[in-house]
Assembly symmetry: C2
Homo-oligomer: 365 residues x 2
DNA sequence: TTGTAGGCGTTATCAT
DNA sequence: ATGATAACGCCTACAA
């Protein structure tokens, strides 16, 4: 951060004055309340007046002052989203931005803005949520990266702040005695894992490793459990099919791969399932670096597709899901909650496996 | 989007009531204005009262209602950022999220929230900016992806909405007769391009291709111009060194690479500089697919480093910059502008080239 | 159908 | 040093 070349005259232009309802009322020759009624599509004003008021508002370029509107008991018109991730794991991840783009699509259709904050850890996130609530900054929030023991739903429920957890627990994990604290949209990780195992098993793979994400994240645990269940269903043992946890970074994905490939050849996995695209690419790269050919000697599957999976050689077989669609669904659920819909759990689209060149029969098959 | 398993009792818990200054005043036995003075560090209240008020506020967990504060002439406490990009180019890009994380670091230190919106195109972005202004939703905005003919600075200046353009024109492109409409933080693309060319030229490369980003973006044009200038300085002709524009996607990066490699071997470039990491990886992958060895037959440089460049084989030589730092700088500049600092242009850190295995001497050297 | 008055929670301007 | 009181712009009874 070096030189600072001054420029411009420093004299900030006088801000254009924003018109208020009073201006409209004066100009249209009616009272302020008539303006309010007209502009909010409420009964109690002649269609003639309504039309005139609307025209004047249009001419003046009037927009409701969000602060005034929020103050008088209305909504703030903002939804909140906090992303708690250490900076170094923010790296390459298409997932999040895609999710947000879907969220925005649904929110902006209803003119709801998104307040977005990146923080370092969960405690800070909780503090931000509390503050947003206390400041009345947001009408509701979207919660991402749910954990198995997650303090957020409880907090939000106790604050009475409408919320939707993205990727939380499946409905069937909840029983009557423990009602959902907040709404939830979820992906069928178990079903997805089954399709991955179907693919690998039918190719002939029997020893499969799963390079999972962060321990404690709900979907990580879910995938680990699902993998074990699917393996058991096919008569595979825990020696043959196992998961290792990482922090989702390329570095840990690579390291996990090294350790897996370092094992004795006889018991070494013939396929690896990675919990995100970055780790999958990193893993494939480690294999290439060691002369382990993909897919001849090792099959690779990425959970979540992205450009990444299609620009590598070979292109990676991936579990494709409609991430923007998932975000859209979550945002719609939040909007519904704001409109008073009951707390509920909604299922997103089932991901499907897109076979590419990185998976094939295991060696000797 | 399938089943919707209802759960929970639907009865939303009664929202906890947020304490107001009135509550504090009552409880501390003072007037509301005393509370306001005490809480805002203003003179006109005894240190004794101030202390008591503070304690009560703390006990009650009071936080200023942002709407009320904004309404009474204060700031809204929000900065805005609109990202205008077609959904399909949102893909894998570490740059943006990193930038945002830096921005947040600076903003949240001053308790300023970030209002974030993704839209499809520039016109929609202009509409959003106008609306935010009209609704008094934001105190200022950050502008990304500046263009050569950019309507945003002019609009913002005319609205009197403080703004900082991220990656706009260098100060020296501006002359006294055309003062900057809004503040600007910029990266020295010319200097960076010079270091890239130094590297490649000294390795012996004479035919160099530049797979650039989108036409019309300020930094794209700047890099194209810089490349030509740097080439000319070294006596290279426009036949030898040329740029092709893309939309930044892996698809167009790959396509551009194919066309480059399709040229006659004698005049084919021996090095390619890509304007982002995704295209660089895609390009390297195309080369690998054609049996063109990197770096023996083709050197590859990525503009912007990321995990991506380090997980490929070979790892990609990249132009590293402190993207979060750049975001931090921009946000600080915006905060300064909100405090009344004059419009100015600030330079960010000079990127540096990190040589890795994807660059080497050209064939026959 | 229309206008008037009061409130939302804060800040700021007056008196006291 | 303190306490009324009036803005800020919108919404909403209630009265005309």
């Amino acid at each position: 951060m070096t030189a600072a070349a001054a420029s411009g005259d420093g004299a900030r232009p006088r801000p254009a004055r924003r018109p208020t309802m009073k201006d409209i009322a004066r100009r249209a020759g009616v009272s302020e309340s008539a303006v309010s009624f007209a502009l909010n599509d409420r009964p109690g004003v002649s269609s003639d007046t309504r039309e005139r008021v609307r025209r004047v508002a249009e001419e003046l370029g009037w927009q409701a002052n969000s602060a005034a509107r929020a103050l008088s008991g209305e909504r703030s018109g903002c939804a909140g989203l906090v992303l708690a991730r250490p900076a170094h794991t923010l790296g390459v991840e298409s997932f999040f931005l895609q999710l947000v783009s879907g969220i925005q699509e649904a929110l902006s259709a209803r003119r709801v803005a998104l307040l977005f904050q990146v923080v370092e850890d969960l405690d800070t996130e909780l503090a931000v949520l509390r503050r947003w609530w206390a400041e009345r900054r947001v009408d509701g929030v979207l919660v991402v990266d749910p954990r198995t023991e997650d303090p957020r739903p409880g907090l939000l429920a106790s604050l009475g702040l409408p919320a939707v957890v993205i990727g939380g627990l499946e409905a069937d994990r909840h029983h009557a005695e423990t009602p959902l604290p907040v709404s939830n949209v979820w992906a069928d990780d178990a079903g997805a894992m089954a399709s991955v195992l179907d693919h690998l098993y039918s190719l002939g793979h029997r020893r499969i490793a799963h390079v999972a994400g962060m321990r404690g994240l709900a979907h990580t645990e879910r995938r680990i459990v699902s993998l074990r269940a699917e393996a058991a269903r096919r008569g595979l043992t825990e020696d043959e099919v196992r998961s290792v946890a990482t922090d989702y970074s390329d570095a840990e994905g690579a390291e996990a791969t090294r350790r897996i490939l370092d094992g004795p050849a006889r018991t070494r996995p013939t396929a690896i399932v990675y919990d995100n695209d970055v780790m999958a690419v990193a893993g494939a790269s480690v294999a290439a670096g060691r002369g382990v050919s993909v897919p001849a000697e090792l099959s690779v599957v990425a959970w979540d597709d992205s450009a990444l999976c299609r620009v590598t050689h070979p292109r990676l077989t991936a579990l494709v899901r409609d991430t923007p669609g998932f975000g859209r669904l979550a945002a719609q659920e939040l909007l519904a909650a704001l409109d008073g819909a009951p707390v509920r759990s909604v299922q997103g689209e089932l991901p499907h496996l897109e076979p590419r060149e990185s998976t094939g029969p295991p060696p000797g098959e």
